[in-house]
């Protein structure tokens, strides 16, 4: 009997809940369940509308951009929203990898999403969640207007699956224009031979980054390796075929060790300084260091943390080490993939790769485009960054980001250990070999 009463009450309680939701005005938004047919959310007469009229539709987008990046992205999609009548629902989360892994495994997906990296892109694509873009994009146009290496990096099994939004070019040697003439030495030995005065030391190195501490060091090793041993060794090392104890890898670590020897503040400074504050010593008086090696995004931190203005700083691309591999460059960027078959989502993706859209973010600053038709940038530094990636003869993605998760984490912490005690290099590399043997086998 009591059970009967309980069950009669339950629907009433649910109804109250439903009323509450509806009263808050949020229950009206369409259910995100992937099973729901897309036409359930649109009004009648959809079939009569022109192909780019998506009035009343919503396209969900999740990315890692926050703060001013988020503002720039929203400014970028605004003309599309105005034209089509659709609305872009953006959510920014820095835990993008964890979020998307959960979303893919449970089948509750956003329409479009930023992807943490090429590894995850391949994984989501093999799970059947990511849609190939060959039929969505005008491929001829896309190939013609995109940096070639990036088209390939955005492909899974030869099919374009991810497009590039915000590139970061690595291997820039930044300097304060008040302290250095700007001459780019012909080779790496030339850089190491530069007289650091008026600064105290030649380089600033800052490895702290919370749980990811050490990653700026991995960029150093990658930039050295690709210029010293070439892209073939780099590729086989990233793929787990070249061991860490290989002489080429060891030499790259040792070359970075030479940098640490002439870096500002010693081991304690290197390991305890946040990467974002790593360039601050360029702008102090007297300056702590002459050069700082970091990716193109660092200009934002010079301004927000170092108190510098546009024009106070400039960079040259890290010069060759072995002349055989001149023009090699590493970098990264934010991939965007499509999880939905909705026409509005497909249309948004087409819009996002266009020069028209990318130019909007480029104009707002802090953006290097993979689209070669984006030609004007607000600052000389951004212009030079774009030129660097368009001119590169060999371009490789950030190696650590392509490695399996455990390998990448071990690589990060190995850099901290190496900065702590360079004499321990053989042991550190042997430990990395042990991780490598397991990490790639488990993949």
């Amino acid at each position: 009997m009591t059970r009967g009463i309980g069950w009669r009450r339950a629907p009433a309680a649910l109804a109250v809940v439903a009323l509450l939701v509806a009263a808050c005005g949020t229950g009206a938004s369409p259910s995100p369940a992937t099973q729901a047919p897309p036409d359930g959310t649109t009004g009648p007469g959809e079939s009569m509308a022109p192909s780019d009229d998506f009035s009343g539709e919503e396209v969900t987008f999740v990315g890692s951009w926050g703060g001013s990046e988020q503002d720039s992205f929203l400014a970028m999609v605004k003309p599309w929203e105005d034209r089509t009548g659709a609305k872009v629902k953006y959510t920014g989360s820095r835990g993008l990898g964890a979020y998307l892994t959960t979303a893919v495994a449970s089948g509750t997906l956003p329409d479009l999403a930023g992807l943490p990296g090429p590894g995850e892109m391949a994984q989501f694509s093999e799970a059947g969640a990511l849609k190939p873009l060959e039929s969505v994009l005008d491929m001829e146009d896309y190939r013609a207007n995109t940096v070639g290496a990036l088209v390939d990096l955005g492909s899974v099994n030869g099919q374009v699956t991810g497009v590039w939004m915000k590139l970061s070019v690595k291997g820039f040697i930044w300097y304060n224009t008040a302290n250095y003439s700007g001459d780019r030495p012909a080779n790496w030995d030339g850089v190491m031979a530069v007289d650091p005065s008026p600064a105290d030391s030649l380089f600033c190195v800052a490895l702290e980054s919370g749980a990811d501490s050490g990653w700026p060091g991995t960029d150093w090793v990658e930039d050295i390796l690709i210029r010293q041993a070439g892209p073939d060794v780099y590729d086989s090392w990233v793929a787990g075929q070249t061991k860490w104890t290989d002489p080429a890898i060891k030499q790259a670590f040792e070359t970075f060790g030479d940098v640490l020897d002439v870096s500002f503040g010693g081991t304690a400074y290197v390991n305890s300084t946040n990467f974002g504050a790593g360039g601050n010593e360029l702008f102090t008086d007297p300056p702590g260091c002459l050069f700082h090696h970091q990716a193109s995004f660092m200009s934002d931190f010079f301004k927000s943390q170092g108190g510098a203005q546009d024009g106070d700083f400039d960079f040259f691309v890290m010069p060759e080490i072995n002349s055989q591999y001149a023009g090699a460059l590493t970098g990264g960027g934010d991939l965007v993939g499509l999880f939905s078959d909705k026409p509005a989502a497909q249309d948004l993706l087409r819009y996002l790769v266009s020069a028209e859209a990318q130019q909007i973010w480029a104009d707002r600053g802090g953006f290097v485009s993979a689209n070669t038709q984006v030609t004007t940038y607000p600052t000389a530094v951004e212009q030079k960054s774009a030129d660097a990636i368009h001119d590169a003869t060999v371009f490789r993605f950030d190696g650590g980001d392509l490695m399996p998760g455990t390998m990448k984490a071990a690589f990060f912490s190995a850099m901290v250990q190496f900065a702590e005690n360079q004499g321990n290099l053989d042991q550190i590399l042997a430990d990395l070999d042990a991780v490598q043997a397991e990490a790639y086998a488990a993949q």
């Binding site: 938004s29 629902k89 989360s93 995004f297």
Partner: protein, 298 residues
Amino acid sequence: MTVVTKPLETTRATAVEKGGRGWSRIVLHAVVIGLMLLWLVPTLGLFVNSFRPAADVARSGWWNALFPPWDFTLDNYSRVIAANNLGDSFINSLLITIPATVIPVMVAAFAAYAFAWMNFPFRNAIFVAIVGLLVIPLQSTLIPVLRLLAGAGIAGEFLAVWLAHTGYGLPFAVYLLRNYMGGLPREVFESAAIDGASPTTAFFRLALPMSVPVLASLTIFQFLFVWNDLLVSLIYIGPTNPDNLPMTVRVASLVSSLGGETHFLTAAAFLTMILPLVVFLFLQRYFVRGITGGAVKG
């Protein structure tokens, strides 16, 4: 603590000189105030930094702002309030937190009474199983629960988060309340039964009013847990329905993808802190009154 209480006891034991007693009170207060100040230092630093320009925060410690030349700004606050529909997400946070606090506390109170005072088969086994759920990490349930919620068509709605928080909160809530209710005097319930009270009457008229202090503290715990939660809301409401996202998710997205622009977080932290502080202060008074009330009657 012992250092402080010992002189107190000895003075009380001798209890002759008034001056000695006053002196030890001053020492006690000095120590307590000192500890409080020490405890408040990080919060104070955060508060001061929330009024400083970004470049200053990056270059010098917060204590530098306390000396002239003063350079305070409200920019951080105005930017945080203007950005990301923070007002809407404040309402969302309330809409998530209040039901997600009330539901588990109510359900747990019923369950705790049943476990403490009602006889049914496998009572202890079920209780042990529920307490055992405490060791399951929340993160390991994300994928299956999201699949379940999406199957029911409620992923992205507030209801999904209410149910999720109820589930995550219940094991601890049942455990805490069962132990408290189990400690209530048996005679009270026996005489109620003799007077003809049903278990339902005994629960509402006796068990519930006598458990007010523990209900208040459980409410504080659960409220703070849900208010501060980022992960559960992000996963179950998620970007599929960003209009329903709470404040924590909005605040987290004030930071750029590489961890820049963190100076806004100081201001955002204070804005999110206001309501929990009010709730805590309000319930704390209630909590203390509950304890003393019980003590007098007991």
